[in-house]
Point group: C2
Chain length 318, copies 2
């Protein structure tokens, strides 16, 4: 069983430390968090280097601005065969950091789509990942054996492993998370100092603006870190909405109809199916992710993939 270090014990890292079955050590830059984790019975290192040294796997679960410095520490202190993964909500920028800081190490980018509304060690929950989609990035230069090690750990947490490239991931989260956050913000801001509009707002407006309740600094960090993938997604979306509002009734109808069809397709998802994929079949794994599937188990021949409705999982927040 791999020995795992978890760096950063906020909601995701803390939940991970609580959920990991094997030997795991945690570390957080905040001494109070280290003390709390220790008081809860977990093994916690006193220093970052102490946490990193001699681990099979290091999971970097810090806020994005700290990821680069932690990668540098790993490059300085980790064993050469250590596998490094992270949980940041954007993947291409972190891949860039890893390529620069960890050229000799085995890096696998990851993003568990779990939990944004609460934060901190206090909110950590070992059941957080049950049913959650957890993207693991598979690039041409990814060590596929290292990828498999991380995938096995993630499956052990009850999560669904979604193989994707960093670019595919960043485009997808721009569409399903970052643009919705910006839309929610502008909708909510549109009724500020308009009590009449607030009175007429219904449950649908509450739903449409719910993510504007997320702590602003988290949303800002998430959206600005993904600017490169987000910008073209914003651009295409606002062009469509603008055209629909320009008095072009055909454009409005086309937009509304295509949205309705797409939403209906999400609710009437494909018949569940399984797909076997060989352990080293990079293209097969990426095809599964592109087709909307995920891994559910490691089997002796490799992986068992699953395709099915996206909605039927208790937690896929991201």
């Amino acid at each position: 069983m791999s020995s795992v270090a978890v760096i950063g014990l906020g909601l995701i890292g803390g939940s991970l430390l609580r959920a990991l079955a094997g030997p795991a050590v945690g570390y957080d830059a905040d001494p109070q968090v280290r003390a709390a984790a220790r008081a809860a019975g977990f093994v916690v290192a006193d220093t970052l280097n102490g946490a990193i040294a001699e681990r099979d796997v290091v999971v970097v679960a810090t806020p994005i601005p700290a990821v680069g410095p932690v990668f540098d520490a790993i490059a300085a202190s980790a064993r050469p065969d250590t596998i490094v993964t992270d949980v940041a909500s954007v993947k291409a920028p972190v891949r860039g950091l890893a390529a620069r800081a960890l050229p000799g190490l085995r890096y696998v980018g990851g993003h568990p789509m779990a939990g944004t509304e609460r934060s901190g060690w206090q909110a950590a929950d070992p059941a957080l990942f049950g049913g959650a989609a957890w993207v693991l990035c598979l690039e041409p230069d990814t060590d596929v054996a290292a990828w498999g090690e991380i995938a096995s750990i993630v499956l052990g947490l009850g999560a669904r492993v979604v193989p994707a490239t960093a670019v595919e991931h960043d485009d997808a989260v721009a569409r399903v998370s970052h643009l919705p956050h910006l839309f929610a913000a502008v909708l909510a801001a549109g009724v500020a100092s308009r009590p009449l509009a607030r009175t007429l707002a219904a449950g649908s407006f509450r739903d449409a603006t719910r993510v504007a309740s997320t702590r602003a600094e988290l949303t800002i960090a998430m959206c600005t870190a993904n600017t490169e993938a987000l910008a073209p997604v914003i651009d295409a979306a606002v062009r469509r909405v603008s055209r629909a509002g320009s008095g072009d009734a055909g454009a409005a109808a086309a937009l509304i109809e295509s949205g309705h069809r797409a939403r209906a397709a999400m609710d009437s998802a494909p018949r569940p199916a399984h797909r076997s994929i060989a352990a080293g079949d990079r293209d097969g794994l990426l095809a599964l992710g592109r087709d909307g599937g995920w891994l559910v188990a490691r089997v002796h021949t490799g992986w068992l993939g699953h395709l099915g409705p996206p909605w039927q999982h208790p937690r896929t927040e991201g």
Copy 2:
């Protein structure tokens, strides 16, 4: 007790016919709907003119394209003192129709913010309006006694009467309903043929796109009818989102922070308060609506208004 005719027995008109306590007659252009309403024990006229003649109040609850022709029929067949109201989701355009077709009659524009997902007589429910916001338009040329008659009927249905001008109403619904529908459509359309994105979509994306499930023709009719008020609202919103996506991190942060503040303000609403308003106090009634309030009762001096949190009502769909 006023005798009321309800023209159009879909979700809103049918619910109204079921909910009205006094003598009421219904009419629908569809003979099958007339038969169904009659079979359910309601008085249903065989002709539009028969329904309209000799009524104190006529409620026009047809789809928007039929409102103009029904107004023409009312002008031809109704008593000169008949009060006419409607339930259309846009008010300035219908006010224009009424000014042209009903110059001698007393018209009060109305919009119950209730129910969009189901439709038709089969879905009609006398409890539909309980707690719902029901805008009644008060313009400089509105007969304030006629307005009071309609307000009393609406209060009798358990709804909250929100006084507003047609222009104020149309701006408010553009912000809380029509723009959210367009955003939901473009978000949903953005993941069409992208199964990976759908897999990563979470409950928040489902919430953000829920209204894209509404029947497309209803959304199209609603949004295109309100083009005049919607266009500037769309324009301002897309400019803010575009600026946030243009790489201007300050603009993104400002948008996200203002959205967060506005959403928090909706959840932490003002302390409930009451306000008494004289029956003929047009400005006082409109001020109540602008301040986010609504009427809860007719009292001997006029009206009792209420101000409070917008969220605490079971049904304010629109």
